[in-house]
């Protein structure tokens, strides 16, 4: 009952905020949602890895950056649209992720958490610097017509392409949820995430499951890499803000709460765009996620102390 009342209050407040924003600053809501879609779609695979393999992958955004480079040069070589590259990039990235997992992360699974963080942080630096060495810090972009598609409502004009990220985020969230709750492989993955010893004694190959989940997450990251390329220029450090923001969103949603990432992303995306809408606060947008994560952790620890 308490949960239901709280959910109702949150829903009512969100609807009120949305109505106010639509009447006052509609672009904040529109671009906020678009940004939220992108953040959520990138964060969901990281949440999947954290929830089941229990690894904080600090190279998460960098994997997406590598995937975007692969998609870029694949598209250039074949004269292909990045949208057609989504599935091939997903497959290539999944294989790449699986190999990296077997070579490095797998060996650190029993190590202390700090060692795991250092390992994935090292991977992030290695990816960024390798791309930097090969392709320099120059930016690459594929110009596409459909990306600048816009829509008019009254005297309001806004770009609509980025709504594709919202769609992808919803597909990812419910696709992952479906996989984890309705398929036997997914249930086994959840079992491994909840109790690896228990999973092994019922005959589940725990390390194989970790590798599979990591590869699956990297397939989603790869798809996002190709999709990201439609909209943005890429450069070696383009992925790192996504690592931090994804981690922030997962912490806000709570580990294991994949659909919760959607809500957290809307909060982050709309807040950022709200600050961007006013000249004096424009530059603060980039630190919103720090403020949010501090607020959430503070609220959780206060609640924890009360109960």
């Amino acid at each position: 009952m308490v949960m239901k009342r709280r959910t109702a209050i949150i829903a009512a407040l969100s609807i009120a905020a949305a109505v106010v924003l639509i009447l006052w600053k509609p672009t904040v809501l529109i671009y906020g949602l678009q940004a939220a879609g992108l953040y959520a779609a990138v964060a969901i695979p990281m949440g999947l890895v954290l929830g089941i393999v229990h690894i904080v992958n600090l190279a998460h955004g960098e994997f997406m950056m590598v995937a975007a480079y692969a998609a870029y040069f694949g598209c250039k070589a074949l004269g292909m649209d990045p949208l057609l590259a989504i599935i091939p990039t997903a497959i290539v990235t999944a294989v790449f992720g699986w190999v990296i997992f077997q070579l490095t992360i797998r060996r650190a699974l029993k190590a202390p958490e700090l060692n795991q963080l250092i390992l994935t942080f090292g991977l992030a630096i290695a990816f960024t610097q390798t791309i930097n060495l090969i392709f320099t810090s120059q930016t690459y972009k594929i110009p596409l017509d459909y990306v600048s598609a816009s829509m008019d409502i009254g005297d309001l004009t806004f770009g609509v392409w980025s709504f594709v990220f919202v769609a992808v985020a919803i597909i990812f969230a419910y696709g992952v949820k479906f996989f984890l709750t309705k398929t036997m492989t997914g249930k086994a993955a959840v079992a491994v995430g909840q109790n690896p010893r228990g999973a092994a004694i019922v005959g589940i190959d725990v390390y194989r499951t970790y590798g599979l989940v990591f590869a699956l997450a990297l397939a989603l990251v790869g798809a996002m890499g190709a999709l990201f390329l439609t909209k943005s220029a890429i450069f070696p450090s383009v992925g790192s803000p996504f690592t931090m923001k994804s981690f922030c969103l997962i912490a806000m949603a709570g580990i294991g709460n994949i659909p919760g990432i959607l809500g957290a992303s809307v909060l982050l995306g709309v807040s950022e765009n709200f600050l961007r809408a006013f000249r004096p606060t424009r530059d603060w947008a980039e630190i919103v996620f720090f403020v949010l994560i501090i607020a959430v952790i503070l609220a959780r620890s206060l609640k924890g102390r009360k109960s």
Binding site: V190, I201, V202, D205, G256
Partner: protein, 233 residues
């Protein structure tokens, strides 16, 4: 079924199991001993959770020492661990389904097995949609036994099944073990020697990592050492 010969194992430099010979045939075998004697370590070695230093572990003539846990589970060895090791955030039903899903000889008989488990433990049927982690200790123990039975095991290993349970549930658990005796080989470690002597055919006493005694249930009941140290008479 299970044959352990001259087994040494331990953690780091500390030897916990010392030259143990041990056998389970088509029977129900008890493994007794005080806290820290090495009972759980011996079971961990059988399940591939601890790597033996020396000696052999055979399952139906196949060497399994050093094999991975999931491989041993798929060969038909089911464990009911002391800590239960359930999937707390999954329903009772899903816990049971996962007990069979990855065992080649059991996965096609999931619904039959589940009916059988429900008839042994009706409370699990009542609670089948409840999260495992929200149940009482006794119910979780029953679920752990049920999950193990889902795999149609040839060897069922129970590590301290009565630990921390109220007497009525202990009696229920041992009734179930007695009922299962005819269909599956059982290895059970216990500190509650009195109750378990009723459910077993034969037993070993393990002290300081060594087998100090081996006898039939009747023989153990009248053995002066067992009476003094374990039955408290």
């Amino acid at each position: 079924m299970l044959k352990i010969q001259n087994l040494d194992c331990g953690y780091g430099r500390m030897k916990v199991i010392d030259a143990v010979n041990f056998e389970v045939g088509a029977e129900s075998v008890g493994l007794f001993g005080p806290n820290g004697a090495g009972k759980s370590t011996l079971i961990a070695a059988v399940m591939g959770m601890v790597r033996p230093w020396k000696g052999s572990i055979e399952l139906d003539g196949k060497r399994i020492e050093g094999a991975e846990t999931h491989v041993i589970a798929r060969m038909g060895v089911a464990l009911v661990p002391q800590e239960r090791e359930l999937f707390p955030g999954m329903s009772v039903q899903d816990n049971l389904i996962l007990g069979a899903a990855y065992i080649p000889h059991a996965k096609d008989h999931t619904s039959d097995q589940m009916e059988q488990v429900f008839s042994l433990f009706p409370i699990l049927k009542e609670r089948r949609t409840q999260y495992a982690g929200t149940m009482s200790g006794g119910q979780q123990r029953m679920l752990a036994i049920g999950r193990a039975l889902m795999s149609k095991p040839r060897l069922l290993i129970l590590d301290e099944p009565s630990l921390g349970l109220q007497p009525s549930i202990v009696a229920e658990v041992f009734e179930v073990l007695k009922a299962l005796k005819s269909t599956v080989s059982i290895l059970v470690t216990e500190q509650n020697v009195r109750e378990s002597l009723r459910a077993i055919d034969r037993g070993y006493v393990l002290e300081n990592g060594r087998i100090v005694l081996e006898d039939s249930a009747e023989g153990l009941k009248t053995n002066p050492h067992v009476i003094k140290s374990y039955l408290g008479l």
